[in-house]
Structure formats: structure tokens, C-alpha cells
Symmetry: C2
Subunit: 211 residues, 2 copies
């Protein structure tokens, strides 16, 4: 509780710094392999003429995700936690110093793959999106409630694999709205591009509304 | 570190109690939706004449997984962590009291869906298996090393979906053996049953070798 309070106060400082720099910050959450990085890759195509994006990549180890994002031409910083299960606000504070915030207006923070404790650690974001893949099972919303209670959007990814799963989209939606009545729900395939334009439009609109 | 030490000492006590009762305990790990519960459901068919199994189910919320396991006729206890991201040894100590250990010889503990900190919290298990699904991506072994360093077996699940993914099985195997040269690797589909008999045979053999 004290640890979370300390983290939250640093998150507040980050948020103020982002506001000062005119940067709209988005925390991208979801299980390992849900498709967070692939989603960012696909969003780039739809966002590049409309925003100046930068990325903080969080992982236990390797710079694989940062290398993927760099190919998009977006300024990227990789954080390695070593073994830590979630990004913390102080890690974001340090990473921020090495990003061109003055010439950016949208920052994605791809969090460590984790459907649990990433939910309770604010980083200084304005918006949260959770990527849930159709291959994980439709009971994950009810089984991991804090993540879905605390998100602005639920992005159901891998829609292209729905024919090969027993995923009940209606059940996912009902569970999500019961926990979080105002949550935005998108159904996408980061592989085929289906539904990606809608997510991009929503992100651009959220940023413009805030400014 | 002190917290982990305290946890480990309770884990040691659990291990001693399991040995005393002649129960071989298996920690079942993996991301949310990797297929841990489905694997246990499929293993039951192959194990029921050969072992007396019991299960401790760990989740943040709901008893959905315990209800699925109960249908198999195995004694089951559900632990709900509330928000905690991993099972701890003291939770297992309490749960053990409510299981018929004297008439069981194999205990599965299905851990919270999490590829990170479940790796560093011993529960009193003799064996660890990690379920990695072919839909999560072949880079997960290298990106989440502690989990794969500390496991006895890597069970690649959802082999039936391989045709629809870019999962490179060789890369997964190379990364796993580099981190953990003696790791056992199984490729299965908990949906179709492919490869399940081999996992069951290995579990029975591991239990008999230990006794
Ligand atoms: N079929 C299909 N596969 C996808 C889709 N999106 C991502 N994938 C695959 O899913 C795997 C994981 O994708 P990533 O983008 O690495 O997932 P991630 O959430 O960033 O994973 P971590 O950062 O390690 O937590 C890769 O093999 C992708 O090719 C999709 O919409 N459809
Ligand atoms: N296609 C396919 N789907 C599978 C396979 N194994 C499990 N699934 C599906 O994957 C989803 C998740 O399975 P679960 O068994 O609930 O996964 P889990 O690891 O127990 O999830 P948590 O306990 O919530 O962490 C369900 O929709 C299953 O039907 C498989 O081998 N092939
Ligand atoms: Mg990623
Ligand atoms: Mg389960
Ligand atoms: Zn954590
Ligand atoms: Zn944890």
C-alpha cells in the first residue's frame, strides 16, 4: 500500500510532465503474446500522418520489441526489468528523459506481458488499453477483474483465429460491461489489419479531446 | 529477498509434508489462457487408472477452474488471491489441510496465469511444468527467461493452431535448451489430445522414480 502510494505520486509527476510537453500517454497492457507489439506495428500505418508517436517498451529481458518498433521510425526506449513483473512509474520517469517529448504528441508505453499487477501500477498515463486475444479464452475478463475494471478500452485481438476457437465474444462483452460499463470494446486482427482503423481513429479523437 | 526467503521456508515445510503423505506435487505454470486447465482435463483421461490425483486451483477470482476440475472427479480446492499475481507457499499450506492427501499420490497446483513472478515463488512442489501456447509467439522463452530457466518441462500447447501462426518451433526449442539444457519439451494439443499420452507417461514415471 505504501509502495503503491509512492509509485502513484511519481506517476502524478510523470503525468504533469507529459501534460507540460503536450504528450498524450497510453498504457498498453495484456498477457504475454496477446499482440501488443503487433498492434502498435499495425497502428503505425494508420497514425503516421496524424500524430508524432514515441514508445517506451517494457520487458523482463531483450530488446526484441523495441527493435520491432524502431523499424516503424518511432523514437523508442527499451526498459528491461530483469525479473520485475510490471513497469513502475520511476522506470518511466528515467526513460522519459531519453525521448524527444517536445516533438512528440502521443506516447505508447507497452507494459510487461501480465494480466495481473500491471493493473495496479500507474505510470502517468492518460489512457489505458488492454489487449485480450481470442485464443486466451472468453472467461479471462471475469477471472482477472482488476485489469478490466481499470481500463478505458478492451481490444480483442486475433479475430482472424475466432473460427478455430470456442471464444464467445458476447460473453466477453457482457463480463466487461458488467465490470466496467463505459469501457470501449474493439474487435481487431493485428495480423490482417481488420478493425485497426477504428482503434486509430479513437486514439486520435481521445488525444484531441484532451487538448 | 526476505519475503522470498520466508516463502521458501514455508515451501520446504510443504514439501516435507507432501513427502510424508507420499504425494508427488506438480506446479503447473503459464500465461493466462495458455491452456493449463484444459491440459489437466485431458490428462485426467490418461491418468485416472494410474494415479490418485488432487488439485489446488489458484486464480485471482471465481471458482471456474475448480468447477471444471471437479467434473473430473478429482478432489479440488480453489484459492482466490483477490489481486495477488502469484500463489504463495502459505496459501498452499492452508489449502493442503482441506485435501485428502492420505489417499492421494499426485497433486497438481495450477498457478495464477502469469509468466513472470510465479517463477520465483516456490510452493513445495517436486516438479514444475510450464504451458506455452503456440499462439503466444516463439520469442516468449527468450523474453521471459526466469520461468523457462526454472522449469522441468516446457509443454507447447495448441499445436493444432500452428498452421495459422508464425510460431517457429525450432526457435522455441533452441531458446529453451540454451537457458535450460535438460528441460523436457512436449508438443501437444489439449484440444485434440495430440501428445497428451506422452506427458501423462512422463508424469507417472517421474512420480515412480521419486518414490
Ligand atoms: N493470427 C494472429 N496472430 C497474431 C495477431 N496479433 C499478433 N499475433 C501473433 O501473436 C504473437 C505475439 O505477438 P506480440 O505482438 O509479440 O505479442 P505481445 O503482446 O507484444 O507479447 P509480449 O510483449 O511478449 O508480452 C506473434 O506470433 C504474432 O505474430 C493477430 O491478430 N492474429
Ligand atoms: N485450439 C486450441 N485451444 C485450446 C487448447 N488448449 C486450450 N485451448 C483453449 O484456450 C482457452 C484457454 O484455456 P484454459 O485451459 O482456460 O487456459 P488456462 O491456462 O487454464 O487459463 P488461466 O487459468 O485463466 O490462466 C480456452 O478457450 C481453451 O478451449 C488447444 O490445444 N488448442
Ligand atoms: Mg510485445
Ligand atoms: Mg486455468
Ligand atoms: Zn507485478
Ligand atoms: Zn507476483
Amino acid at each position: 500500500q505504501d509502495i503503491l502510494k509512492a509509485n502513484d505520486s511519481i506517476a502524478e509527476q510523470n503525468l504533469a510532465a507529459f501534460d507540460e510537453a503536450g504528450v498524450y500517454t497510453v498504457n498498453v497492457l495484456g498477457s504475454p503474446g496477446s499482440g501488443k507489439t503487433t498492434l502498435l506495428e499495425k497502428l503505425a500505418e494508420k497514425l503516421n500522418n496524424r500524430v508524432k508517436a514515441a514508445v517506451i517498451e517494457g520487458d523482463l529481458a531483450t530488446s526484441k520489441d523495441a527493435e520491432r518498433i524502431e523499424k516503424l521510425g518511432w523514437p523508442t526506449i527499451q526498459i528491461n526489468t530483469g525479473g520485475g513483473c510490471h513497469l513502475e512509474a520511476n522506470m518511466v520517469s528515467s526513460a522519459m528523459k531519453n525521448l524527444p517529448l517536445d516533438t512528440s504528441n502521443l506516447l505508447f508505453i507497452e507494459n510487461v506481458g501480465n494480466l495481473v499487477c500491471t493493473a495496479s501500477h500507474k505510470l502517468g498515463e492518460r489512457l489505458r488499453i488492454v489487449v485480450l486475444s481470442a485464443t486466451e479464452g472468453d472467461d479471462k475478463v471475469s477471472k482477472y477483474p482488476p485489469m478490466f475494471q481499470k481500463t478505458n478500452a478492451l481490444i480483442m485481438n486475433k479475430a482472424d483465429l475466432l473460427p478455430y476457437t470456442d471464444f464467445d465474444v458476447d460473453r466477453m462483452e457482457e463480463d466487461a460491461r458488467r465490470l466496467n460499463p463505459d469501457v470501449e470494446i474493439f474487435k481487431v486482427s493485428a495480423r490482417t489489419g481488420e478493425g485497426i482503423a477504428e482503434v486509430a481513429d479513437w486514439l486520435v479523437a481521445k488525444r484531441e479531446t484532451w487538448f
